[in-house]
């Protein structure tokens, strides 16, 4: 066994600031939100001053299965969030990111630099700026997208009203592809070129190269990427800037649902209950991620 550099008390002293930090900024809010979720606390009205303890009331309302799947309710919001995560993160960002990384693997030049620069630019521009740009892009009458579509005779849809989910999925794909692209691209560059060269010599098709060489070597990175972007996308609030969750809650993903309940309708107790459920889902996703990481470490 390795001897540790510091004695136990001393090492404890070193981690104390970090632990305090975690306690103040993570543990305390969590406990307070957990507590508030069992009250009828609001931000205005009499229950703002004197909230009552209501037991599981907030939770039974959230999970009232008679109207769970109605628009603007918890179940519907979770379903939309699932569509959003699968559409924009798993298929959109990871799929597109992997495609771009593969397409430019072992290539250099103007095209690669342009594509990478644009993807990274889309990733690092501030949310509000991006939202304004997309507002203009999707405008039904004067937007760039419809200008292109109508030239080739595909009509003039009102994207944010008629296809709110598709709009925010496209938006978030565009917005976040860079992360997956960079991750896959650096993973690919770690694969020894001799593997692929040997495969070419013996006449393997591109699909065979992907299936038998690249995919097995990339699998660990793909899992990491999927878990991370799932967590991020699950919690993202940016679609609010485009659709506000509407029309009629048709793009109300869980982060917007939480915000509307707690900070627009000022029902802090119920909003906290949603936040607790969201935290539990996050915890589950994070545990899966950690488990996979640990089993990979055990393998190596």
């Amino acid at each position: 066994m390795q001897r540790s550099l510091l004695s136990r008390p001393v090492s404890f002293l070193f981690v104390t600031p970090a632990l305090l930090f975690v306690a103040v900024f993570l543990l305390y809010p969590f406990i307070s939100i957990f507590y508030i979720s069992f009250t009828n606390q609001t931000l205005t009205g009499a229950t703002a001053v004197n909230p009552d303890f209501v037991g599981l009331d907030n939770y039974t309302r959230l999970f009232n299965f008679d109207r769970w799947m109605n628009r603007g309710e918890m179940g519907q919001s979770l379903l939309l969030t699932a569509q959003f995560v699968i559409g924009s993160a798993l298929i959109g960002q990871a799929g597109l990111g992997l495609t771009i990384a593969m397409a430019f693997h072992r290539r250099k030049g103007f095209l690669r630099e342009t594509v990478f620069t644009l993807a990274i630019a889309a990733w690092i521009i501030p949310d509000v700026v991006v939202a304004f740009a997309w507002f203009a892009f999707l405008d039904p009458d004067n937007g760039t997208l419809n200008a292109i579509l109508s030239t080739i005779g595909l009509g003039n849809p009102d994207w944010l009203l008629d296809y709110p989910m598709l709009s925010i999925i496209l938006f978030n794909t565009w917005r976040g592809t860079a992360f997956s692209m960079l991750l896959f691209s650096s993973a690919l560059s770690s694969i020894p070129p001799s593997y692929l060269e040997t495969a070419e010599v013996i006449g393997a098709s591109p699909w065979q190269k992907f299936r038998d060489i690249l995919f097995p070597l990339l699998r660990g990175y793909i899992v990491t990427d999927l878990i991370l972007i799932t967590l991020w996308t699950f919690n993202t609030f940016t679609p609010f800037l485009l659709t506000g969750g509407g029309p009629s809650f048709r793009s109300e993903v869980i982060a917007i649902y939480t915000y509307r309940t707690g900070l627009q309708f000022f029902e802090f107790g119920r909003g906290s209950a949603i936040a607790v459920v969201v935290m539990l889902i996050n915890l589950l996703l994070a545990s899966i991620y950690l488990l996979i990481l640990r089993s990979r470490r055990a393998q190596s």
Binding site: L43, G45, A46, A48, R67
Partner: protein, 444 residues
């Protein structure tokens, strides 16, 4: 040494007395008035008394809902501007949430000595009052009507001097306009969540009052959640937006729909818009964002008719509803005396006269009449007598949001009027409790 410097600094600042007073929520005309007239005039007035005061006017371009949200969050953590432009119907939930305090408690008994109170009738003082206490000074009140483009009316063969006496006559005019030019949206009656309170006040309540009752029964002290009038109202929306497409549903659903509808009216693409007099004095006034230079020649207003003559709220032939705005003092202010000096100065006759120049309006002070604007005078004399107000209850805002949602569900085609009413009834019961709701008979 450091202590000496610090205490010296304290002495100097006490002598110089540099105070900054901020006013939040200023928009358009009120921003112009506050920043160009009130702030410099008040600073001079204070300087004469040897006090160094700076007035910081904070302009907002947010929606009323966003502004209210910001106030809730600011006041909740003991922050916020010293004075806040405030909508009267927000007050009950703010008072009950202990977010605001009566003027007397913040400033002291001297507020009662202000000369202006005598000029403001008690009914109008109550715009920023709740349960007998006054929290601010009301700027003025308003009323709602149908604003229409006389130029389009005449082109379509309708009289420029027009006044429908039933919903059917209103719809007939809309049909005639659509026939004249299918590109025109004849009539916008506000609906949907994104317009917020503008949907409840200018749309839902204007129709509901005409169908026979208010959102709340003031005698029974209960919210009316199912009734024939609610169904009739939702049917009217259905006729306008779905069955006959007399109005553009997109304006009611889009995030920026209210501005789109203003712009369309200004461009002559919408012929009739049910709006408050705010629309006349602050949206299409010459020089405003959607201003019409020839507003006085091509825009007129008609009273909103009841469904049938005599079928409206209290048996009225015509209906309208009023709100009121003003300014409150933030209980967290560090300078309550100066804040009150400023607030009372803003509503001095001298300062109000300036505001009436910029924006003639029905003012709370009776010695500041509407001058120089016949339309605003007519709103005061012809429309205001029919008016009613919203129930001053803390639960109103949540119920109002459910009413907005109910109209959105119909206008977007998600639900039939009956389904939407049932969903509304369920949601409102959830908010206020079984004992605070009632139903009236209706036919399915």
């Amino acid at each position: 040494m450091l202590v000496v410097v610090l205490s010296l600094g304290a002495v100097v600042s006490a002598q110089d007395d540099p105070i900054e007073i901020s006013i939040a929520g200023a928009t358009g005309n009120s921003y112009a008035w506050l920043s160009e007239f009130v702030a410099p005039a008040f600073e001079d007035y204070m300087a004469e008394q040897g006090r160094d005061v700076t007035v910081n006017v904070i302009e907002t371009s947010a929606t009323a809902e966003d502004l209210r949200q910001q106030y809730v969050l600011d006041l909740g953590v003991g922050a916020g501007a010293d004075l806040m432009a405030f909508d009267g119907f927000w007050l009950p939930e703010f008072v009950e949430g202990d977010l605001v305090q009566p003027l007397v408690d913040i400033v002291g008994p001297e507020v009662l000595e202000w000369e202006g109170w005598e000029q403001i009738p008690e009914g109008l003082q109550a715009i920023l009052g709740y349960q007998g206490e006054v929290y601010g000074i009301a700027a003025g009140t308003d009323a709602r009507a149908i604003w229409y483009r006389t130029d389009i009316f005449e082109a379509a063969g309708l009289p420029a001097d027009w006044q429908p006496t039933s919903w059917e006559e209103l719809l007939d005019a809309a049909r005639a306009l659509k026939e004249y030019d299918p590109e025109i949206w004849p009539l916008q009656l506000n609906a949907g969540l994104s317009m917020g309170e503008a949907t409840t006040m200018q749309g839902y309540l204007m129709a509901l009052l005409g169908a026979g009752h208010h959102i709340y029964d003031f005698e029974e002290e209960k919210w009316i959640v199912r009734s024939q009038a609610i169904l009739d109202t939702l049917e009217l929306y259905n006729t306008i937006y779905l069955e006959e497409e007399l109005g553009n549903a997109r304006f009611q659903l889009a995030q920026n729909g209210r501005d789109l509808s203003f712009e369309a009216f200004s461009d002559g693409e919408v012929a009739m818009l049910v709006e408050g007099d705010y629309f006349w004095r602050a949206v299409i006034n010459p020089g405003a964002d959607f201003g019409l230079d020839n507003r006085n020649e091509i825009v007129s207003f008609a009273l909103m008719p009841a469904m049938e003559p005599g079928a409206g709220f209290n048996g009225q032939d015509f209906v309208t509803v009023s709100g009121g705005t003003g300014y409150i003092i933030n209980p967290n202010t560090e300078n309550p005396d100066v804040a009150w000096e400023l607030l009372s100065y803003m509503f001095s006759l001298e300062a109000l006269a300036e505001l009436q120049e910029i924006e003639p309006r029905i003012r709370a002070r009776q010695d500041a009449p509407v001058t120089g604007d016949d339309v605003m005078s007519a709103i005061a004399s012809d429309v205001l007598p029919y008016t009613t107000v919203r129930p001053p209850l803390a639960a109103y805002n949540r119920v109002s949001a459910e009413a907005q949602l109910m109209t959105e569900r119909v206008v977007s085609g998600e639900m039939t009027p009956l389904e939407a009413m049932n969903a509304y009834a369920e949601a409102v019961t959830d908010i206020v409790g079984e004992d605070s709701v009632m139903e009236l008979p209706f036919e399915e």
